[in-house]
Subunit: 525 residues, 2 copies
């Protein structure tokens, strides 16, 4: 029988896994390389490390210490990235708040999180009103004296903790933008953040030459943990503080962007407005909706390689990834069909299962629909101050996502629908995604969102909300004709509603709002 080593794991051979280690390494290994770029500023990793220390010092001077929650409501800018190291670096917990929330929701979150203080800027604080915690406003323009200026501050340095006491200690608290009821606080650990970040480095091939455009908000699942992953790789964070197509197109070329992540809706924006291809190839991770053939074709022409991802706030962002290598002769349709899948589990995800009601895996036949269930080190530690929700989410050994999918023989999954997006019309179940996929083949449609509307006879029917390509005005009769040719009767949208679609901060179409609108319009009829 194996004899245990003489010493238990000790300081020499055991270190709590923590993204703080990534910054420590980057400060030494990549001291002179550019860590972060914002507007006309850039900071080397040595300078970024100093910014982190200034922020840590400032927080300590305000009495913030281990176990406190620190909230920030900011667009993508260096101070928000720095907080990803400064806050855990003093043993506190990082709470980044979605900049698009209403004042009442923000106050709820600050209160529920028992936050010690809130850091925002003039824009994000404008609508806040009375906050339940002390509020500090960052400068709008560094050096202009219009707020707190960490970038220019001359504060004494501070030491950062090497890591947490235990690697399963909390590093971040992210509130979901729940479509019903109150937002839930999702707790991330140092261990989960470290592992998911390393998994992202491997999956997206980040290295010290990576130039990452921050299209994705850092407040969204800590930017899928790329806030830590890019630093682990020694790459450059290029901050984009608002989704503006002209600015994005300029940065992609001027900053030689190699990677970015965003919702498809941002890609639609680029697709419409880019007039010439990126000077260098760009790898773009996207999720939340399957990339359409038109999107894939046009983005390839523009120099983008699309990686399709799937994940949730509760899973630190992506748990599956689809980055197929195509044969040179693969047709666009073949590529789109393949890329519509959500792919294979991420290397640091424990398991991605598609299960039936009894938690048994469905056959890997690409047909049988089950619910995606997850486990592993990159599942949240729990819902903050919510034992019932935590028990329901984690208590059974599997986290059920509520998303319905099939499993292919090659191990890839493909989402059929979010459970709540299934439409049941006249007793027939069908997927709103299927109807959207057909509409996306229409040359004049930019984005379509299909939801269930109540119907006195059929129970529900499909309604299509559509955004047209610029220059196209909708010919509703032609659209109906198009659907008649491509969809079974019960799946055809009974109503087409043109106009801009409501979107979340991350660019996802807010289907709950459309569902609400369809219900209201039905009630009025």
């Amino acid at each position: 029988m194996f004899e245990q080593p003489y010493l238990a794991p000790c300081a020499t051979n055991y270190e709590a896994l923590s993204p703080l280690n990534f910054l420590r390494r980057a400060e030494q290994a990549y001291a002179d390389q550019t860590a972060v770029i914002w507007r006309d500023r850039d900071l080397s990793y040595a300078e970024f490390g100093a910014l982190v220390r200034r922020m840590a010092h400032w927080l300590r001077a305000r009495g913030v210490g281990p176990g406190d929650v620190v909230s920030l409501i900011l667009p993508n800018r260096p101070e928000l990235l720095a907080a990803h190291y400064a806050v855990p670096g003093i043993g506190a917990v990082l709470n980044t708040v979605n900049t698009r929330l209403e004042a009442e929701e923000i106050s709820y979150i600050l209160d529920h999180a028992q936050s010690r203080l809130l850091i925002g800027d003039a824009d994000t604080l404008a609508a806040l009103g009375d906050a339940p915690v002390p509020v500090f406003q960052l400068c709008g323009n560094p050096g202009a004296g219009d707020g707190l200026d960490f970038l220019a501050a001359d504060l004494p340095g501070a030491t950062l903790a090497a890591g947490p006491a235990a690697e399963t200690d909390a590093i971040a608290l992210n509130y979901t933008s729940g479509t019903t009821g109150r937002p839930k606080g999702v707790v991330y650990t140092h261990r989960g953040a470290y592992l998911n970040a390393l998994g992202n480095v491997a999956a997206l091939a980040f290295d010290h030459q990576t130039r990452y455009l921050w299209t994705l908000p850092m407040f969204h699942c800590n930017g899928w943990t790329h806030t830590w992953a890019i630093t682990a790789a020694g790459g450059t964070h290029v901050c984009l503080d608002r989704i503006d197509a002209a600015q994005m197109i300029g940065l992609i070329a001027d900053q030689r962007i190699s990677h970015m992540c965003c919702a498809p809706v941002v890609l639609y924006m680029l697709m419409e407005q880019m007039s010439e291809p990126s000077p260098q190839p760009v790898r773009v991770g996207t999720g939340g909706a399957a990339p359409t053939p038109a999107l894939i074709a046009r983005m390839e022409e523009l120099g983008f390689q699309i990686v399709h991802l799937y994940g949730l706030t509760e899973s630190y962002g992506p748990v599956t990834l689809n980055a197929p290598v195509f044969q040179p002769d693969a047709s666009l349709q073949q590529r789109a069909t393949r890329l519509a899948r959500q792919g294979l589990r991420h290397v640091t995800t424990g398991a991605v299962l598609v299960v039936d009601d009894a938690d048994h895996s469905v056959p890997a036949d690409g047909k049988t629909v089950g619910e995606i269930a997850l486990c592993g080190n990159t599942l949240m530690a729990g819902n903050y101050r919510d034992p019932d929700a935590t028990e329901a989410a984690l208590g059974t050994g599997l986290f059920r996502t509520g998303d319905l999918a099939v499993l292919y023989p090659d191990g890839e999954i493909q989402i059929q629908d979010r459970a709540k997006d299934i439409i049941i019309s006249g007793g027939e179940n069908f997927s709103s995604l299927e109807v959207e996929a057909v509409l996306h083949q229409h040359p004049d449609i930019l984005i379509a969102a299909v939801v269930a509307a109540p119907h006195p006879k059929w129970g529900e029917t499909a309604w299509a909300f559509i955004e047209m390509r610029s220059g196209s005005s909708p010919d509703l009769q032609a659209l109906e004709q198009f659907c008649r040719q491509n969809l079974a009767g019960f799946k055809r949208p009974k109503k087409f509603i043109p106009g801009p679609l409501p979107k979340t901060a991350t660019g996802k179409v807010q289907k709950f709002a459309l569902r609400q609108k369809a219900k209201e319009m039905t009630d009025e009829q």
Copy 2:
């Protein structure tokens, strides 16, 4: 104060880190892709997973279970790779034995490891004699009936453990080839193996298109944990079961090799014998001696990109890595000077320090010599059944390597000498590496190894053992003249001894043997 989650880490959100997870993922995600190639055989990841299960079943049938040690003495072949999953998959500990050891050393290791059984092949078992454990011989040629044939076996499947009970449980036991005294058993954990493998995926950019040539023996630090890393990436293991230049050159082209690792001596062999460049670029990790300018220049011409690594058995292989990106106009001398460094710490290494006797870091000036000291999750759990050695190695919070280095301002380290390779002549200390570096600039010298020889007047003097390029015969007077032009008097070799150099299984020059020879020759004089 942050409220802890309602549930402690549980099955849903905590999984013991283990390379077993990599195989489980690869079997699903890369089922049809080629896992391993050997001679004219290839196995997909589905087939490789089945091989692992057959081996696990066979071991269980022999009474092997959790906590047992299983020894293998094999060249690089699929069964040795499979053992990296089958043995931990039944909760046992993997002990791979160096195929070049003498019978007496092998018996010592089997006995000290309290091994349950030994698996070898006709070649590796030939010299063994009586072994203290049951011995099983693998087939020489699969299907030929000349031994145990896991590749062709029709055994029932077996389940593998999902992971160890605790991630700090032992996964492997590797005996160092100590130059003095008995070999020491170095214990690796599941956690350390998982992390170092992921670190290697990131550092060397392994992915599912990687085709890795197994030049490095798998028995050497479990192939620097690449036995697990390539599987984590879903790449292909191409087995090379003996160092044969013609076979290597053939495999590099035929198998479209993208990565390999080896000692510089193997590269010298390629450099001498390759007549045309590799059809595709090959990234090659090398360590143990700095690549010389001649080697870098010729290997670049042949299509190889050299990454210089440093590590020890106790650190699961590499802890630093030097993969500089050169400007197109960098001269060969500039590239060689930069590549001679051992580089920056690996992302999963905790810390790489260069310290003085009081454990304080030396100045990062590229001049002050200190001892390399390490800590972090990829340091061994201890020396097996050796409390004194374990305490000495790990007890202080820092593992001292015995290697002397300088630290540059950019965080890179460069080894000056192994402590034992310093030569002290007439009270002057100098580095045998420095003398070797000069000799390597001589166009007729393939490899030089410089050691201290006892000297009645000076204490020690340098002796140079040299291998000439094929076609060159040594002109000793010219060599002396060359050294006079390039080295201070006390550093000049007092003797040049031509002939083939003794090498370890991994291709490192056995300096201790040369030191011994120099001593004997001095005694005889």
